[in-house]
Structure formats: C-alpha cells, structure tokens
Amino acid sequence: MKVLNPRAAFLSDYEVLKHLTETKNRYIAFGQSQGTAHAMKSSNLETIMKEVKDYLQTTPAATQSEEAISNFMQEISAFALEKAELLMMVNCRPSSIAELDCIVEEMDQRFSEEESAEMLRVVKRNLPPGPKEVLGSG
C-alpha cells in the first residue's frame, strides 16, 4: 500500500451520504439479481457504511440537494470566505449568529454586523434546515 495523495479533495457530508446511499442501492440491486447470498459485503464495510449513514441522516446533509448547494455557493460567493468555511457552512448549516461565528474565523473583524446577518439569511434561504428530531432531542 502506498499513499499517493493524502488529501486529494474535500467532500461535503452531502456527497458522502449520496455516495453511500447509491453504493448500498447498487449492492442491493446486485444481490437481488444474483440471489440474496451476494447482497452482504464484508462485515467491516457493512458496519461503517451503516454507522456513517446513520450519523449523516441526523445532519443537515440529509435534507440537502445538489441544486440547493450550488445555488447557495453562487449566492454566498459575494462574501470573501475561505473554502473550509464554506464547506463547514454547508455541513453544519448554521441557524444563529453564534453558530456562524464559530465557523467563520474572526467574523467580527472581517465582516460588519449587517454582512453577518445577510450571510445567515443566505444560508437560511438556500439550505433547508436539518432533520427535525435533532433539535427536538437535543
């Protein structure tokens, strides 16, 4: 084993969830065409796929769509934000100024109060809120 590129790209939670769901569906379709004995893959893969899927289904990634994210990226590009900050915004979908402040480094110095509020509005307008039970059980 050799690592060629330790960090070839960043993935958003949505992309990971989509990949896992598609992979699982492909396995199920394959299993049905071959008889169920083939549907199960190695146990370590089944475990991690299920656990990551369970986790991501409680995050905002569960309700996002490709269209919503690309619209969001277009609108938010008006602000000078770092790539990592944008990624976290999509993954966490901040719903309050306090949350936004954690994601955007030194927000009070880089942006005025009005700009921060507008940023939050852009987030809320484009990205759907995460699954309900997260707020409820929290």
């Binding site: 330790p6 960090r7 992309e15 990551v52 369970d54 901040p94 707020l135």
Partner: protein
Amino acid sequence: MFILTTFTDLLHLPPPTFTHPTATALEDQINAKYANKVVHNIGLCISLFDLSKVSEGMIGQDGGAHANVEFRMIVFRPFKGEVLTGRISSATAAGVKVRTDFFDEVFVPAGGLFDGCLFDGKEQVWIWRNDDQDFYMDKNELIRFRVEGEVFVDQLPVPPHLKGEESSLHKKPPYAITASCQQAGLGLVSWWVEEDEEDEEGAE
C-alpha cells in the same frame, strides 16, 4: 469532515472472484481491506470512492490474479479548526468524551471547556455556570465542538516478552481527536437554538 485520499496497492483476486466483473471484485477486495480501518497519519477509511487505474493482472501461485490498483477512498479526517457535532459518551474530571455513530475517540479536555465549567463528581457531569445559570452537559446530549488536534498511535505488534507490561500502551486508539468548546455557539446544540428559528420553519 470527509476527504478523498489516493492510494495505490497490489491486490490479489482469488479465482472464485473471476465470475464477477473485475471492477466489482476489486471494489470488494479494497473495501474488505480498508473499510472501517485507520491508516496511520491518514485517517479512518470509510469506503471506496472510485477506481482510477488498474494494471493488467499477473497470475499468482493459487491461480489468482494480482493487480496494481490506484483508487480513491473516502476518509474521515476532520481538519484542525473544523466544527463538528457528536454525542457525549462519558465525562470524567479530566474532560468530556464525545462520540459520533462511527467514531468514538473524541476528547474535550477540561481545559478546553468554557471558563466557569465545573465537574460534579457525584453526578459525573460537567456543568457550565454562566450568568448564575447552570447548564448541564448530560450524557448522550448533542454537542458541537471544534477540532484542535489529532493523535495517531502506530499499532505495532508487541513482542511476546513485553506483552504483559505494555498492554496499556496497546489499548490506545490508533486515531484520536482532541477538541474544545470555548466559544459562543459551541457546546450543547440545544443551548444555541434561537427561538425565532422554530417559528420561521413552521411558517415556511
């Protein structure tokens, strides 16, 4: 939180896998070898993302094929400063342990908690005292934290004559994350839910 890492590896396809398409057989081999495993200084491998290059197969001793494969894996490796959510799994005087469904080794040391946090030894819970109000960090609560550092421990085999003494070293997780909750917005998710947010959602 997740990244793509490019690997190359020499993989062995035993003859029974020849009935499957090569790409499927390789995918299964890669996943069996990497999924849910920590690669030193890389992170926790989740699953294969895609295959980039596959060499011609070479026949091995058992009649199987060996192929050099270049592929990309989905890897859990949050960057420093990233904000994530998890659930509190336990609390000690040293700090709070946080887990996600698939990763258990997140630790928020006592020094990384809010100022004015104190540990209740009887209840085994951390309490944040803010403006004369107590906020409890109960077990299983959803918590938002910032990644501060990571520790990789190489899981080398221990020679038999050292096994007894060094067993504690062996228990260290291969990949652990240290985190902090010191900023407004971090800490329990329920602390920072704005009241009007719920109304807005209802109206939409």
